[in-house]
């Protein structure tokens, strides 16, 4: 919805023939910067890679650095990390559904979800002191504890969110005909292209780091990986909507047996030469960090692989042969950000002529 990118789309008779994606508009050189900041400062920098999955980034970074330092965070810290992780997934998936309805021109659903999502944001602000970059993770644990009052409010909010998810599920069913069969990505293609997260699960592949390689407190909870077989925009929507119910359940379980104790472990000296890889299931899929130490308090190298980087590769496959007017919907379906990609270059296959249009114009029919 928000990052600028340029698409060069080749069309013939209103049908998409080919797509070329030009990236790098928001490249800020973060990996390089990370090798100039201390491990502790790096947490805040990683957090600022993405406003949607800031907690996924800090958790993955902290967990990988903790492996390098051989430190184990206390149980309570792991639970808090996991609770925040699922709250983040909830607000991210909700905003995504809101934007999907917006793309479909369903203003009422859009407004309802954006308004209801504010309840989670208020809660996150109360728990972390900030709505977007929580600042709660630290190497060795977390920086803030959850009070009894916060837990009470959280439980209460979960009930409201269950009904919000129910509302979204009903709306999705109503609109299913508009989503079904659009932007197909068959299972084999999804695997060959290496897509991750809800996009992969919507093409019938059961894959979720939370289950396959449990981290934080995911081993302690009972939940199901949501899979759909359609491989289209409808399946991608259903996977995310069903995941919101799972997230709510996960948080409930964590609150039910919330352990007591410390929230941060002592961190020792940085080891000489050591490297580790860590991964988590961010709202958009598998996120991977590589961290290498050199004995100083600044890492030698940090390498990050984000989910959208993988998922974006599937766009040409999903778009080829589709109607030009479905382009915004398909872009939206992989949960990447588009609305300020107001530059879309259309190339007419017969004449080779190029012209730039606004994405919003496509729906009005160019």
């Amino acid at each position: 919805m928000v990052e600028p990118e340029l698409y060069e789309v080749t069309v013939s008779n209103e049908k998409i023939v080919d797509v070329d994606i030009k990236q790098g508009y928001t490249h800020r050189g973060i990996e390089r910067l990370l090798a100039t900041k201390t491990y502790a400062q790096g947490v805040f920098l990683c957090e600022r890679i993405c406003g949607f999955c800031s907690h996924a980034h800090t958790t993955c970074y902290c967990q990988t650095v903790e492996k390098v330092f051989e430190v184990e965070p206390p149980e309570r810290a792991k639970y808090i990390r996991t609770i925040m992780f699922e709250l983040e997934r909830l607000q991210s998936h909700y905003l995504w559904t809101a934007l999907l309805f917006h793309t479909l021109g369903e203003k009422e659903h859009f407004i309802k979800i954006v308004d209801a999502r504010e309840e989670i944001m208020d809660l996150i602000e109360l728990m972390c002191g900030n709505r977007v970059h929580y600042g709660i993770n630290a190497i060795g644990g977390v920086r803030g504890d959850l009070s009894v009052e916060m837990i009470r409010r959280l439980r209460h909010a979960l009930d409201d969110l269950t009904s919000l998810s129910g509302y979204i599920a009903r709306a999705t069913r109503e609109l299913a005909p508009k989503l079904s069969g659009i932007g197909p990505l068959p299972r084999e293609k999804a695997l060959a292209l290496g897509v991750v997260g809800p996009v992969l699960r919507a093409s019938g592949v059961e894959s979720d780091v939370r289950k396959d390689d449990p981290y934080a407190a995911y081993e302690e909870v009972d939940f199901e990986v949501q899979v759909e077989d359609g491989g289209d925009v409808l399946s991608r929507t259903l996977v995310r909507v069903k995941e919101t119910f799972e997230s709510i359940e996960i948080i409930r379980q964590l609150l039910d047996d919330f352990p007591s104790g410390n929230i941060a472990a002592e961190v020792g000296e940085p080891p000489k030469e050591k490297e580790e890889v860590g991964r988590v299931e961010a709202p958009r899929g598998e996120l991977i960090y590589f961290v290498k130490s050199n004995g100083t308090n600044i890492p030698e190298r940090v390498k990050i692989r984000t989910p959208t980087y993988m998922n974006e590769r599937s766009l040409p496959e999903m778009l080829r042969g589709q109607r030009l007017s479905d382009l915004p919907l398909i872009l939206e379906s992989i949960d990447r950000c588009i609305s300020c990609t107001n530059r879309l270059t259309l190339v007419d296959q017969r004449t080779g002529k190029k012209h730039q249009v606004e994405l919003s114009e496509l729906r009005r029919g160019v």
Binding site: Y25, G29, L33, H133
Partner: protein, 290 residues
């Protein structure tokens, strides 16, 4: 302006600010009632909200988009990145500040600023009245500094992840300055300060017309060397150190003045043979008492 159309442009953000600009249009904030709406095309807009730090690839785009706006063509920079480049200043792919590329009418500090602050800024710039909201307990605002407690030790400067804290010595004074335009309210400074001189404010940061003007500052006296007269260390830091020594070793209290004299010399003068000798004698005496 009767109809206010806002166009949001991301020139290199993490999405955080964009999410909050978006959230500012949730019904609870009442922008729609005031006739303010988001539009998807800059040539329909008369207000521009810029988020992020300009990169080599977006710099020209920012100027182009600004030029397409309708009058009165107001621009609001939202978030630490758009104000000062935040932690990304100096990165190889970052190219200048927003206000070096276009004229900016208001700046909203924070990382990201909450929608409340963005709405306040819009309402302010557009002269639509005023809006205010309650802040929850534990909110992390901008750091305040207690000049009475600060010793100018620089621990906060070391830990700040964005380089928001500056320490400069001028004449008899050391200035510790917190630049809000760069601050992300992470509280690392508050945690690191040995004197408990820093505390994050509980208010939401407000918009400003001058990004450089917002901040907090403590001025600390620098001690002049009793021998050569050059400044060498903050006075409160020397006093605090002396107090700590005497707290630990009460028996030394009879030597307070002598210790203070030795500490009153700068590094160069302390290393003169004459002064080394004096220091050795003092140490010897202290050893005897202990």
């Amino acid at each position: 302006m009767r109809q206010v159309n806002v166009y949001r442009l991301d020139v290199g953000s993490c999405n955080g600010c964009d999410i909050e600009v978006f959230s500012a249009f949730a019904r609870r904030f009442g922008l729609e009632e005031l006739g303010v709406k988001l539009v998807g095309d800059p040539s329909e807009a008369n207000v521009l909200i810029v988020t992020g730090v300009p990169t080599v690839k977006t710099r020209d785009m920012l100027r182009e988009v600004y030029e397409r706006l309708k009058p009165p063509r107001l621009a609001i920079a939202v978030g630490a990145c758009a104000l000062s480049g935040e932690a990304f200043e100096g990165s190889y792919s970052v190219d200048g500040m927003v206000d070096e590329i276009i004229h900016v009418d208001a700046y909203v500090p924070g990382c990201p600023p909450s929608p409340h602050a963005i709405v306040e800024a819009l309402v302010d710039v557009l002269k639509l009245g005023s809006k205010a909201w309650e802040v929850p307990g534990g909110f992390r605002g901008m750091p305040n500094i207690d000049a009475e407690k600060c010793t100018g030790c620089g621990a906060c400067v070391q830990v700040c992840p964005t380089g928001a804290i500056e320490m400069v010595d001028e004449g008899n004074e050391r200035k510790v300055r917190f630049r809000y335009e760069k601050c992300i309210s992470c509280a690392s400074c508050e945690e690191a300060c040995p004197e408990e001189a820093v505390e994050l404010g509980a208010e939401r940061p407000r918009a400003t017309g001058d990004r450089k003007a917002i901040g907090a500052e403590a001025k600390i006296e620098l001690r002049r060397c009793s021998a050569c007269g050059s400044t060498f260390a903050p006075t409160p830091q020397l006093e605090r150190t002396l107090d700590r020594i005497l707290e630990k070793k009460e028996k030394f209290s009879g030597y307070r003045d002598l210790i203070a004299q030795t500490m009153g010399l700068c590094k160069n003068c302390r290393n003169l043979p004459e002064n080394i000798r004096k220091a050795k004698i003092l140490l010897f005496k202290l050893d005897l008492t202990a």
